[in-house]
Amino acid sequence: MRRLLERIFEEFTPNARVLVAVGAATPFLIVYFVLHGMALRHEEFRQGLHAGPVVGLQALFLLCSVVNLGIGVKLWPRRWVNEPADDLTQLACLSIGLAYTLLCMLSGTFTSGTNLILVGVLAIGLLLFELQPMVVAYLVCAVLLVGQDVAVMAGWLPYAPALSEGLFSGGKPVWWFVWWRQYVLYAGWVVMIGLLLFLLARLDHLHDNLTRLSYTDGLTGLANRRRFMDVLGTELARQARQGQALCLLLIDVDHFKEVNDRHGHHAGDAVLRDLGRILMASVRTPTDLPARLGGEEFAVVLPDTRLDEARRVAERLREQVATHVFQDGDQRLRVTVSVGLVVARDMNLATLLQQADLALYRAKETGRNRVVEAVERAP
């Protein structure tokens, strides 16, 4: 059920959503139509109803059903076309909204059952449609409801015109009215709670995705530059406060341009992905943070790590990459990396990165496939 709802809201085109709304609302309208028709025919039920308003409502239900069916027929061939039919969407919102609003107006707006129906229709509409058609339909229905209530207060209209005193005998509602009210209330409650929990869960889910995506690199799944900068900043501040060693590895793939040129971008991407995996496997998560800074540049933040440990990590990494056979389809290739290593001792972010950059540069200069430590210079 949840999977189905997810699919409807994530993958359906606007036109298909209109069809969902029409398809969900129209059968209910038809059921109401049939039930009311049956009630009007039985003496027992007819006593509790005023025939005139009920017949008017029947006509409205019929009209709305026909409109909805028309919309359905018109949109069916275009259901997977991603060009929304705005006017038909608006028409569907209005016809469904009006049908339920008038139903509630005629049977009394001030009971929870009818209110739950209205709110439920609103919730489903907001889940399916854009804001604008819903705002228009909402305003029209709200004006009707408020207008009716003003007329009731002024004494121009009776409250709940479709219901008559025959619903009550001796101050107590008749059995079928009790039954009906109970059914509407509990059905409305269950549906509403389900819908709202779903809506809120969806919001949470979207938000989590957003946070995760904005902090990870799409290709490798490692942290991206933004997250790297964030974490490095916090770790540097902690280092300054607590004085524990903090190391940074800056890693660059040697001759990556050639990999791309000779084997194609696809192979290049495969190399980067594999490298991401190697990096992820070779650090002590969750304290260490491997990241892709962009292009073929990677980095690892190693908090609470002394120089000799960091050196070991870097060497192991370099060796693993150098011995790994990268594969893309039937192409096999090897690459190497150069690593710049720096120990942060009371530095700011810019100096630390610059030092690491310098060390990496010297690693490239002195023949690549090696780890070079930054030499501390007197300030």
Binding site: F110, L116, L131, M134, G218, N260, Y361
Partner: protein
């Protein structure tokens, strides 16, 4: 003040309000959210309390309540309100934004949801606005807290509702025990009762609609953001490679059907590595961002696709454009880029780019991309800062490319 001013101001307030609500919905800071929840619910309860208190002033209204129940109910409700206000005050004092207070959340949620259900049972669940209010409180709670924090309170209220239904059904408890006068018998409503019902219904309906609209806006915003994030490159704001590939495929189908020309233009910044090494990564990023803006400015909205293809490589997809027109576009961009001056400190530098262009024939994308890549390579080989263009005939890779 003119009408437009009022509208603009209303519009701004509306969005600011939504932003504030969203921040609470999404950030899930316990102390702050407990405060919001308790204050909001206490306000609703106060409305009910005031209406009931008003009834106590007149004998005929007081007669609507079961004898002897009016005062204690009032005190009990006041106690609940005081408890909530106390929790709100605690929430204000506990400012530590990130600390988690699971017990405090339960201390706010369980009395609140339990309290509103008891109030609903006392007034009668079937023909009063209280079920709507219960729903409101539940949504409010779930919006501000995670599902696992709300479920106990939800389970409690469901149990209370079921128990009350069973007790009324089996005759152990009267329906709406708080009220002595029948509430809705088909006869005209007592005016005070009509007011009670109206006020609470309007309150519940307005709150519920607001909550629903806010949620819908929040969900739509998240979706839009997610879509941009997935489709665009963060640095340049252009389409990313994945999005480019999708567009390429779509346009290729269209091209194969319509037979109109379509071109692919590959740009590569010359000596970009040196820019990075010499002027620093921030300067390199600036170059890429500026090129992104240039490409966007020189392409047609909704028709062309400009994308960052990788590191310092960009690509344009130009439907309805033959190789000659594509050359014109690329030339314009190249000229503009040559004129751009980038500065680091008080020094400035210029960059150039090499361009490879290919016209797609018969929807054969791979061929066109390969051809554009080869042309780009030739442009690089021939000394950079130039472009090479050709038509990518499927069988033909030997046909001479002409340099511009």
């Amino acid at each position: 003040m003119t009408n437009e001013h009022v509208l603009a101001r209303l519009h701004r307030w509306w969005w600011r309000g939504i932003d504030a609500i969203e921040a609470h919905l999404v950030e899930r800071r316990h102390a702050a959210n407990i405060r919001v929840f308790c204050l909001g619910f206490a306000a609703v309860l106060s409305v009910i309390w005031c209406l009931q208190w008003l009834a106590g002033w007149r004998e005929d209204l007081n007669a609507l309540y079961r004898p002897g129940w009016w005062g204690p109910t009032l005190v009990w409700q006041a106690g609940l309100i005081a408890w909530l206000l106390g929790m709100a005050a605690w929430g204000k004092r506990a400012r530590d934004a990130r600390a988690s207070h699971p017990w405090a959340v339960q201390l706010a949620l369980v009395p609140a949801l339990g309290g509103i259900v008891v109030l609903g049972v006392a007034h009668g669940l079937h023909d009063t606005p209280v079920p709507m209010l219960i729903l409101n409180v539940l949504v409010f709670a779930r919006g501000l807290f995670a599902w696992r924090e709300v479920r106990w309170a939800l389970a409690l209220s469901v149990l209370l509702v079921l128990a009350s239904e069973w007790l009324t059904g089996s005759g152990h408890m009267p329906y709406a025990p708080l009220l002595s006068a029948p509430v809705f018998t088909g006869a005209a409503l007592h005016p005070w009762w009509a007011l009670w019902v109206r006020v609470l219904f309007v309150l519940a309906a307005v709150l519920m609609s607001l909550v629903l609209f806010c949620l819908a806006v929040a969900v739509q915003r998240r979706r839009a953001e997610l879509e941009t994030l997935v489709r665009t490159d963060a640095l340049t704001g252009l389409a990313n490679r994945r999005e480019f590939m999708t567009q390429l495929e779509r346009e290729a189908h269209r091209q194969a059907r319509s037979g109109r020309p379509m071109s692919v233009v590959l740009f590569d910044v010359d000596h970009f590595k040196q820019v990075n090494d010499r002027w620093g990564h921030p300067a390199g990023d600036e170059v890429l961002a500026r090129i992104g803006a240039l490409l966007k400015a020189h392409t047609r909205d909704q028709v062309d696709t400009a994308a960052r293809y990788g590191g310092e490589e960009f690509v344009l997809l130009l439907p309805d454009t033959g190789v000659n027109e594509a050359c014109l576009v690329a030339e314009k961009i190249a000229v503009r880029l040559r004129q751009e001056r980038f500065t680091v400190g008080d020094q400035g530098f210029h960059v150039t780019q090499s361009v490879g262009i290919a016209q797609v024939v018969e929807g054969d994308l791979d061929q066109a991309l390969r051809m554009a890549d080869r042309n780009l390579y030739q442009a690089k080989q021939a000394g950079r800062d130039r472009m090479v263009a050709s038509v990518a005939f499927p069988e033909d890779v030997k046909r001479p490319a002409w340099a511009v």
